[in-house]
């Protein structure tokens, strides 16, 4: 056991492990690229959907049930399914990651919109704001903390799951996990897993710190 962690330590800090096309730096960049792009696409789908449902109150059923749907979705199964249907490309990976991220974004955006005090919305309309102005000037800013929470959760989930890119022969930190498994190199498997975990935790801390800074004037 001790030996394993010692080797893991050496693996993680050795300079040769960090450089080159198969190095940690490059794999990390790939991993972040997949994750950010997938989250961005998911946001482009989930945000308008959540805002629309929250503003009109129509389709609340969808917003609420999407969360449990997201949890139940077998990500690897989805990758394989799209891979079989569409052939080998990054598409199956992005489809799976986006499908994973959308529910968290929609659900939290919707939750943020419904948490806006009805009196405040009533006052906004009563002062003479039109529907769009109520949405953009009142509902959206007030829902923003929860919207950002949704984006953060989605990104963390995607980062943790983007290892599947390696499953269909692409890069990212998953490379170490799948290669290590194939080569029965436990140190490499563990190294990949630790890196993914560290990236997820660091992003989570950084983003929640940013949220706290942005909303320091808000109560609660």
């Amino acid at each position: 056991m001790y030996e394993l962690f010692k080797n893991l330590g050496t693996w993680l800090v050795s300079s040769s492990q960090w450089s080159g096309p198969d190095g940690i730096a490059h794999r990390l960049a790939e991993h972040l690229q997949y994750s950010l792009l997938a989250t961005l696409i998911a946001a482009a789908i989930g945000l308008p959907l959540g805002l629309l449902i929250g503003h009109t109150g129509k389709g609340a059923f969808l917003a609420i049930n999407l969360a449990s749907f997201g949890r139940a979705l077998p990500t690897v199964g989805l990758v394989v399914l799209v891979f079989l249907a569409g052939g080998l490309s990054m598409l199956p990976v992005y489809v799976a990651l986006v499908a994973l991220a959308v529910p968290a974004i929609v659900t939290n955006t919707y939750a943020g919109m419904t948490a806006v005090d009805p009196d405040v919305k009533d006052a906004a309309r009563g002062q003479g704001m039109r529907g769009r102005q109520v949405l953009l000037q009142v509902e959206l800013p007030l829902a923003l903390p929860l919207i950002l929470t949704g984006l953060r959760l989605a990104l963390i989930q995607v980062v943790a799951t983007a290892t599947i890119a390696a499953y269909v022969s692409f890069g990212g930190l998953g490379r170490y996990v799948f290669d290590g498994l194939a080569q029965r190199d436990l140190v490499q498997v563990l190294g990949g897993a630790v890196l993914v975990a560290v990236v997820a935790v660091v992003l989570d801390l950084a983003l929640s710190g940013l949220q706290r800074f942005l909303f320091r004037h808000r109560t609660a």
Binding site: D117, R125, Q127, G128, R130, R218, T219
Partner: protein, 345 residues
């Protein structure tokens, strides 16, 4: 002037909120809508700025049918204050107040300047403008709500139980402030409350609603208290309506005489002839609360009951003693006032 003509409101679930309402709310006056909850008073108020659309009938503000105007533009021309303030929690107090001017397309500097001016109008310190609503007390938030409604100087102000969520002391302050503001601004105000004392205090006219959206009586407070239309209104006004009537009459017309300088109790004054307290022959002291001409007969009666001599001390604007009035004089004047109004027993 606001006119309701045969207005009906039935909600999709089948309940009738307002039943065949015809009512005029005079320009420059405060019309208070009172009634227990579910009587349609808030719905009536919200139909004025189209937050609720009438099922049938017409509502005119300044002669123009509200349903023929763009709803958002109509609302910008009517001040709107709700319970709890409904302030925007993510905007500073100044930006909250500047809401309607900005919607009307004023430039930011002009809107902010106007907002700063209004802070003073509603009795808030200038540095409150940079704060956020949650950093203010309930009473202060309510003042900001009033300032926001006044920002674009609308001729009409709708106030939906604006002082319902603050404690009684603050409520009285806010009521005083509103009366002071109204003296300067002369707005046409529609004010919803379920508190009959608040209605009597603020209203030039009071409209009493019964459950089911029926208007039972609309009259000046004195008229309402003196001659309630039916048992429902009488019940709503409460058992002390004779006393409430006294709260509408001032002391000004009640005669006064010189303060007694001998007897069991004498009134002690300071160098400026301001009453300090009552003192008895054996040096006991009792407090005195001097009253001016603008105080009500009700306060006078209350003070005369508390006074060891049954006399109240009357003072001028500087607090200087002008004379005393006996409980009998107050009661006689009250009786005469009641007789004039033909108060029903």
């Amino acid at each position: 002037m606001i006119q309701f003509d045969a207005v009906h409101k039935r909600f999709p679930n089948g309940t009738t909120a307002v039943h065949d309402l015809s009512l005029e709310m005079p320009e420059g006056g405060v019309t208070v809508l009172v009634g227990s909850s579910g009587c349609g008073k808030t719905t009536t108020l919200r139909m004025v700025n189209r937050m609720v659309e009438p099922t049938s009938g017409t509502i005119r503000v300044g002669g123009r049918d509200v349903t023929r105007q763009d709803a958002a533009e109509l609302r910008r021309s009517i001040g709107y204050v709700i319970q709890q303030g409904g302030l925007f929690p993510h905007r500073t107090v100044l930006d909250n107040i500047a809401t309607v001017p900005l919607l009307l397309g004023w430039n930011r500097r002009k809107a902010r300047a106007r907002a700063a001016e209004l802070l003073e109008t509603v009795g808030l310190a200038a540095d409150a403008g940079k704060r956020y609503p949650h950093q203010l007390s309930g009473g202060q938030q309510q003042r900001v709500g009033v300032a926001r409604a006044l920002a674009a100087d609308p001729p009409v102000l709708l106030m939906d139980e604006p002082f319902g969520a603050v404690d009684p002391v603050v409520r009285t302050q806010l009521q005083d402030e509103l009366l002071r503001l109204q003296k300067e601004l002369n707005k046409t105000i529609v004010f919803v409350t379920h508190d009959i004392d608040e209605a009597v205090r603020l209203g030039d006219r009071i409209a009493v609603f019964r459950t089911g959206g029926h208007l039972v009586q609309c009259a000046a407070p004195e008229e309402l208290l003196a001659r309630p239309a039916d048992d429902f209104v009488a019940g709503f006004l409460g058992a002390e309506r004779g006393l409430k009537l006294l709260s509408l009459r001032t002391l000004a017309a009640v005669p006064q005489g010189p303060a007694p300088d001998s007897g069991t109790w004498t009134l002690v004054l300071d160098e400026a002839r301001r009453p300090l307290h009552w003192r008895s022959a054996d040096d006991a002291e009792r407090p005195v609360r001097p009253l001016g001409d603008s105080d009500s007969l009700l306060s006078a009666l209350n003070e005369s009951v508390a006074s060891p001599t049954g006399l109240i001390a009357r003072v001028d604007a500087d607090g200087e003693l002008t004379g005393v009035t006996s409980r009998d004089d107050i009661l006689e004047h009250a009786n005469r006032a009641h007789a004039e109004l033909g108060v029903a027993a």
